[in-house]
Symmetry: C2
Subunit: 191 residues, 2 copies
DNA sequence: TGTTTTTCTTAAACTAGTTTATTTTTTTCG
DNA sequence: CGAAAAAAATAAACTAGTTTAAGAAAAACA
């Protein structure tokens, strides 16, 4: 069962100490290791009590589909990051899907809540997620699409490289056509 | 010191039990009751270690001022709600200001963290804030300003009534001129 | 490898929302 | 109460970003 090495490391990191065998046992009993292939759906809008995912390897996106059928990417998650709908167990409005082949450790909301009281760093993690989303929100609303693209390129160039352009445009709140224009303009400048 | 009645009630509600005198004593020692007049600044962007506010009475707004000097309202808080920058003690990017004359109980980040371990419902509160912000984010990005205005009117008519229109437009991510058009159009329809 | 599918680019007409400016209405307060 | 200040409405010219469509490039895969 040493498939759980990455997960144990995570808990050792946040707990700032080594785990006992009993603790490892406990962790491996509440998490489930799952593998998904590229573009595989993990959960759908309308489902209840969705799970939380700690990503070992790969890339996920959480998105909505609006009235008109358009997708909007709310968040991406890659290796060593959490992704899931914190609104669970309430019916989710989101879809979770892989962008790349992914392996992740999943946990139910019930166990997640329980384990949070033991590893209080998990709560800080929710707080950090909040801060991240708040920044992202403000940026998208107060800056132009061009500035937001530049910022993403600075903060997470790896993500930009791994995602198809239309997923990035959807994350930035613009159409693929418009992002393409931004990139073309940038290339034109750079001579 | 029975100015703290509203605050005690809040803790009794989230703790689902009555507080002992010692607990009341503890709470009143870490919170500070503050009153602010209309349009009074509570903290400024650039400040560190800002406090958290539980509002007894009144109305606050937290906002940024962007590069071009325009304000953007991120969140409002009214009686029986929390407001503050969860990113604290890091330097804040936000301004906190009253819209109405307000009385609130404020607490430092340090005490807030400490008290969270005792009243774990406070963490759930952060999680709820996250969910709220996430919904707001998705709505603003995927719906038109008109739809978002309608939704606000449904969800919190009281807020719409208490806020000047230009604060609402800024909350919805549009200019006051455009919100005015939306409202005019609505009135025209309604005959 | 060549064929099919997916992604990206470009162009042109369009629209949701902005900007600036002026006037009207509402609120504040001495 | 009346004057001054603040907020809202209206108009007109403008722009950031959309839509639709068609072709080019890149990636997938049999």
């Amino acid at each position: 069962m040493e498939d759980f090495f990455v997960l144990y490391s995570y808990f050792e990191k946040i707990g700032k100490r080594e785990l006992t065998d009993a603790e490892k046992e406990e962790i491996s009993s509440v998490f489930r290791k799952e593998t998904f292939k590229k573009k595989q759906r993990i959960f759908n809008a309308g489902e209840e009590n969705t799970r939380h995912y700690y990503i070992e390897e790969g890339l996920l996106r959480m998105y909505i589909i609006d009235q008109s059928g358009k997708e909007f990417n709310l968040l991406f998650g890659k290796e060593r990051q959490w992704l899931g709908d914190l609104g669970t167990p309430a019916t989710t409005a989101y879809y979770l899907e892989t962008v790349e082949k992914t392996t992740a450790f999943s946990i139910s909301e019930e166990s997640f809540s329980a384990i949070m009281s033991k590893y209080t760093e998990l709560s800080s993690n929710i707080r950090r997620s909040y801060i991240f989303l708040q920044k992202r929100f403000v940026a998208i609303l107060s800056k132009t699409a061009e500035e937001n693209y530049e910022e993403l390129l600075q903060n997470d160039p790896d993500l930009v490289q791994r995602l198809p352009q239309y997923h990035i445009s959807s994350y930035l709140g613009v159409t693929p056509v418009f992002l393409s224009k931004i990139i073309a303009k940038k290339a034109r400048k750079r001579d």
